[in-house]
Amino acid sequence: MWRDPGTPTDSFYEVRPECTDVPKTKFKIKAGKTLSVRKWKAAFTPEGHLDIGRTLGRIHRGGIHPSIRGEVWEFLLGCYDPESTYEEREEIRKRRRAQYAVLKEECHQLFPIVGSGRFITAPVITEDGDPIQDPIVLLEANPDKGLATVSQENATPCSSTMVKEVDKKIIQWKLTLHQIGLDVVRTDRTLVFYEKQENLSKLWDILAVYAWFDIDVGYCQGMSDLCSPMIILLEDEADAFWCFEHLMRRIRGNFRCTESSVGVETQLNNLASVTQVIDPKLHQHLETLGGGDYLFAFRMLMVLFRREFSFGDSLYLWEMMWALEYDPDLFSEYEDPDSANEGSSKAKAKIRHCGKYERENMKAKDAEPPLPIAVFLVASVLKDRSSKLLTEARGLDDVVKILNDITGNLDARKACSGAMKLHRKYLKKAKKT
């Protein structure tokens, strides 16, 4: 039987020719499997209601065609209700774009480099609120002038901001700006897309506005890895912002930090409990090696495997995860959090519209909120390497080394199936105990 070998997707996320050691994308567009433009359009009624159930199945089977990824992600992440009409969605989109413009203007007032097409990579403020005049910032803010002129003129990068700041919220926000800049210049730089200064500053703007919008989280390293695809997939900056913001709603807990902990440690603890149930020997071994805190899995959870996969494959992995986790009430829960618990009766009718992973969690009827599928993805990666870890890892460094070797060698689809299998096993075993 003739089999469709699939069309490679590397052309959609073009890598700079001089970057030769970038892992190739394994994800291929397969006719009849990948959610195509035609199938996607056909999934809507004339008014714009989306048959999400059928769409989820297809995404799970073969991912999303790169040309429609952005708009499909908006549904997967709960930016829009599949049962809404074209008109209603247009209304929401308009409202959100206006809201983003307001947020961005607020930031621009506080720090004029926001929205200027430029960005900074050195601190502009001390923790006490005193302005810092770093020549690098001056140069970044006035790129047309040479460094000598800039320092001679003592040009202020942001006019009114050379006075001591007293507002704690503003200080806190300004302290993150250079960190965002430092990470923007290190995010997906192998892609042709980020050769353009305007795309770099777009990424910086969105992250800066987000840090202002969600002051509790602000900016934490790793968020640029999560935001970067949004900008590539959604042309409108405001749309990209809200799509990123919806992704953050799912995982912002990971980025919340205190003096003594990083939010993701909750998920690492969950990972420990899961491993203890499904592979007690491995858990025991890791604990003996001093890895009982599972910190070696920190990055995988923090940036959702972006560093373990090629750019294209990580997008494929994400959309499969979100399709599996999909809950049709996501939109209403986000828009109106108070109504979240009302819909338990209608949930039954909607089960067809839930992702596979979500359905199994609903069946399990656990009192605890379900764990994110990402935890099971990591657990399955560990389990697949269980024998290697048990026989070869004699120290934590060996564990890290063995896990480092998975970079570029994972298969997104297999990883998801593995996670689903472990999840079922976990639910069964957890029930017994």
Partner: protein, 215 residues
């Protein structure tokens, strides 16, 4: 699976790379362990690490270098990785004065979380950016002397002094350790014993493996 000859070593030294975000820690590490410099290097999320086995004072030393994220809020988890570290390379960027000013904060961090006897070396990186230099060598030198740290300036990009920096800190660690093991009263610090145990443990595992294979 037997250990390859290049994996045999007399000592295992754990060294941590710390310093503000973007000063070039990861590139110092890749220059030292793989002789590579990556212009498209990504930010470090949490902790990453690499090893290299080399000759130090006539002994084979396996240097295990832990690279940490620079952002302040990651401190909560990275401090766990100071445990057992014999050396710390504290890096700043010679073009960014604030990264040098923050060195004292990093020193405090080390004093709070690391072993009291940890060998610390101050590194001013990115000397290739000559036209942008903003921290004078003398200032850093003076600071290092005052704090009792060794000091060197490097360029990971041009591969200048990187080898020397690592060689110096590893030799220093070696000298302290060999001195310690000479004086019989004083037991060697735990982490060094760990290093030695690892070697012994390694051959034990090998022996077992061979048994299994032949039986």
């Amino acid at each position: 699976m037997a250990r390859r000859p290049d994996e045999e070593y007399d000592y295992l030294f754990k060294v941590v790379l710390i310093g503000d975000s973007g000063v070039g820690k990861s590139n110092l590490l890749s220059r030292f362990t793989r002789n590579e410099f990556c212009l498209e290097s990504k930010s470090t999320i949490g902790v990453e690490f690499a090893t290299r086995t080399l000759q130090v004072e006539g002994r084979t030393v396996k240097a295990q270098i832990w690279d940490t994220a620079g952002q302040e809020r990651y401190r909560a988890i990275t401090s766990a990785y100071y445990r057992g570290a014999l050396g710390a390379l504290l890096v700043y960027d010679v073009t960014k004065p604030t990264t040098f000013e923050n060195v004292s904060r990093w020193l405090k961090e080390l004093r709070d979380h690391a072993d009291a006897n940890i060998v610390i070396m101050l590194i001013g990186n990115k000397t290739d950016l000559k036209h942008l230099r903003a921290v004078a060598t003398e200032d850093a030198q003076g600071f290092a002397e005052k704090e009792g740290l060794s000091f060197i300036e490097t360029s990971a990009l041009e591969a200048i002094n990187v080898e020397k920096a690592f060689q110096t800190i590893l030799s220093e660690i070696y000298r302290i350790i060999s001195k310690k093991s000479l004086s019989s009263d004083e037991p060697a610090p735990a982490s060094i014993k760990e290093g030695k145990t690892l070697v012994v443990g390694g051959s034990e595992v090998n022996a077992k493996k061979t048994c299994c294979a032949t039986s």
